[in-house]
């Protein structure tokens, strides 16, 4: 087992900077997810840690050892690929045994170890089959097994669940998390699916355009996003954003969003005191918007655009000032398109970002 340290890591492909001065730590036995949209540099970072790419700048430490110039096979990491990369000409047994065979382990040990891992992953019955004879879920287990079999210091996973169907993905998510906790292997997991990241990670590293946007626990990222990108990327449906200006009125700070105004409590004034006139972006998560059929104090009138029922809850799309926003309504409510509704934006749940640099103010 080992910790992983990445310091000022930079990787360029021609003129494109894929990874730009990235630094983060992964503690021993921790499950860290690198999250970001495609092209954000997360996979490249993983490949740099694996040794499949060489960094242009920066350092990578695995278990305290600088590994920049150490080939992949000596880094003692294991990797699960998006398409599994199972060797098609070998049986499941040989696929699992391969990492041990190339290390010239004794045959008896290999057999015992492969059987142990196969049992753990419940693939004992598949050992004689070829990868082409397996279902996606079974292939995924074999790929995991091949990574597990030699007890690596670090587990690297590159979108391992993205080729599975939705149901199996949800199932494997829990399986994987449990397995990781059971075995206590330091794991770095790459995904673009924020639900996967939120449900599995001890900590998440959010990537965008080759740079780290924020590092934190799932709850941190959800509750205290440090910028608009993180706020918009984490959470489903995504956070609603309204352009607004900070103004003063009767000693109160008022957020003027055009269609509505929000009076902020005095507790905010220490932070916002000298920011009158500042262009900001107001953020509010769909689950925090309250919806009423009748007007109340401090509600805003808007129009239903479309309703998406999810069974236990509903996503209500409403239009306000010509733009569409989303609200999550627990339970059921009967609404038709173009019906008038009244929304309330609870001040205690709002996020305020500087419009210029996107950084969080509150």
């Amino acid at each position: 087992m080992a910790d992983v340290k990445v310091k000022n890591l930079t990787k360029r492909f021609g003129k494109v900077i894929a990874v730009n001065k990235v630094s983060f730590d992964v503690k021993d036995k921790e499950f860290v997810v690198l999250l970001g949209p495609s092209g954000s540099g997360k996979t490249t970072t993983l490949r740099l840690i694996a040794g499949l790419e060489r960094p242009d700048e920066g350092e990578i430490y695995i278990g305290g050892r600088l590994v920049n110039n150490i080939p992949p096979r000596e880094r003692d990491v294991a990797m699960v690929f998006q398409n599994y990369a199972l060797y098609p000409h070998m049986t499941v047994f040989d696929n699992l045994a391969f990492p041990l065979q190339v290390r010239k382990m004794p045959k008896k040990y290999i057999k015992a170890k492969v059987e142990e891992v196969a049992k753990l992953l419940k693939i004992e019955d598949l050992l004689d089959r070829r990868p082409s004879q397996l279902s996606g879920g079974q292939q995924q287990r074999v790929a995991l097994g091949r990574a597990l079999v030699r007890e690596p210091k670090v587990f690297l996973m590159d979108e391992p669940l993205s080729n599975l169907d939705a149901k199996l993905r949800v199932y494997m998510r829990a399986e994987l998390k449990r397995l990781q906790k059971e075995l206590g292997i330091t794991t770095i997991y790459v995904t673009h699916d924020q639900v996967e990241a939120m449900t599995m990670a001890d900590r998440i590293v959010v990537f965008h355009k080759g740079k780290i946007q924020q590092i934190g626990t799932p709850s941190d990222l959800y509750k205290k996003p440090q910028n608009i990108f993180v706020a918009g990327f984490i959470g489903s449906p995504a956070m609603n954003f309204f352009d607004a200006t900070l103004t003063y009125k009767d000693d109160f700070i008022v957020l003027d969003a055009g269609e509505f105004k929000l009076k902020l409590p005095k507790t905010f004034s220490s932070i916002l005191r000298d920011k009158a006139g500042l262009e900001v972006v107001l953020g509010i998560r769909p689950e925090h918007i309250k919806i009423y059929k009748e007007p109340r104090a401090s509600t805003v009138k808007c129009r239903v655009y479309v309703v998406e029922p999810l069974g236990g809850e509903m996503i209500i799309n409403f239009s306000l000032g010509g733009k569409i926003y989303k609200a999550r309504y627990p339970g059921e409510i009967s609404l038709k398109p173009d019906e008038t509704i009244y929304i309330e934006i609870p001040v205690k749940h709002i996020h305020i970002f500087n419009k210029k640099d996107g950084k969080a103010i509150i």
Partner: protein, 292 residues
């Protein structure tokens, strides 16, 4: 149940052409090999007569180790040297050139041997091994082996080997291109997974690359074998089977028997034997492909 004849009408045009131009000549040739020049059935007499000729198998040459050893033996030697050499060379070059910038230019140059008409290839081989202008002799002089200089295709003990080596150059492009295509088909994830799994370059080559290239190897080996069995043009122009039959091969011998000796029955025997040999190779290959 009524027999539906419609599908057979569709294959009829092709079938007629195949019968006229393929099946009829083959059966006519085979039947000719069992007939006397006057048209009487003579059983295997022609076969015995042909196979006991020195041009086909020369036991004395084989035992004492001098050429000619007989066309069948020459074809066998051709296969023994040319098949492994051209296949391996193509594979090694394909692997070496796999990730090299501008390798397509090098591959194209090597592939030139394949697109060159074999008649031209044969002439080039003759010049390559020529005493005065040949590049082989120039090379020998350059490395201080000037005493070996001679026109290699003119001596019984070196004529066949010169042609074989020349044909390696002509044919290597074939296995190179096929192996290059085969390598390009292997997803790079397999190599990356193997690297992380701890395999060395050698282990990756022998345990991942080579097994995944097996279908390509089958094709290369089969096509090469068929080519070697049917080899004719380059021998015809480079040495004319000489000197003294030292570089003669089955296909050329068949031609000589038919159009120089006008012994069509003997020629048919060789044609039938060649057909049988190529058919065996083709069937084995076909079975392998179908099984896959």
């Amino acid at each position: 149940m009524k027999l539906n004849l419609t599908p057979y009408f569709f294959i009829l045009p092709a079938l007629i052409l195949i019968i006229i131009f393929v099946l009829y000549p083959i059966s006519a040739t085979i039947s000719l090999s069992f007939l006397s020049p006057e048209g009487y059935f003579v059983g295997f007499d022609n076969y015995i007569r042909v196979l006991s000729r020195r041009e086909v198998i020369n036991y004395d040459g084989i035992l004492k180790g001098y050429f000619p050893m007989g066309a069948i033996v020459h074809n066998a030697i051709w296969i023994l040297i040319h098949l492994p050499l051209s296949t391996l060379l193509g594979l090694v070059l394909a692997v070496l050139l796999q990730n090299v910038k501008g390798s397509s230019i090098i591959k194209s140059i090597i592939f030139l041997g394949m697109v060159t008409p074999l008649i031209v290839g044969g002439i080039i081989i003759r010049f390559t091994f020529d005493r005065e202008v040949g590049v082989v002799n120039m090379f020998l002089k350059a490395i201080g082996l000037g005493h070996l200089v001679r026109t290699w295709t003119m001596y019984p003990d070196t004529a066949l080997f010169s042609l074989i080596l020349g044909s390696v150059w002509l044919w290597t492009g074939f296995s190179l291109i096929l192996y290059s295509a085969g390598l390009a088909m292997i997803p790079k994830e397999y190599y990356e997974a193997a690297k992380i799994d701890g395999a060395s370059s050698m282990q990756i080559f022998f345990r991942i690359t080579l097994p995944l290239l097996k279908p390509v190897t089958t094709t290369v080996v089969t096509m090469t074998l068929l080519w070697e069995l049917k080899i004719f043009d380059i021998v015809y122009v480079a040495t004319y089977g000489g000197p003294g039959g030292a570089s003669n091969v089955l296909a050329l011998l068949m031609y000589f028997l038919a159009f120089r000796s006008l012994d069509f029955n003997a020629s048919s025997v060789i044609a039938t034997l060649l057909t049988a040999l190529t058919l065996i190779v083709a069937i084995v290959m076909f079975k392998y492909v179908v099984r896959k």
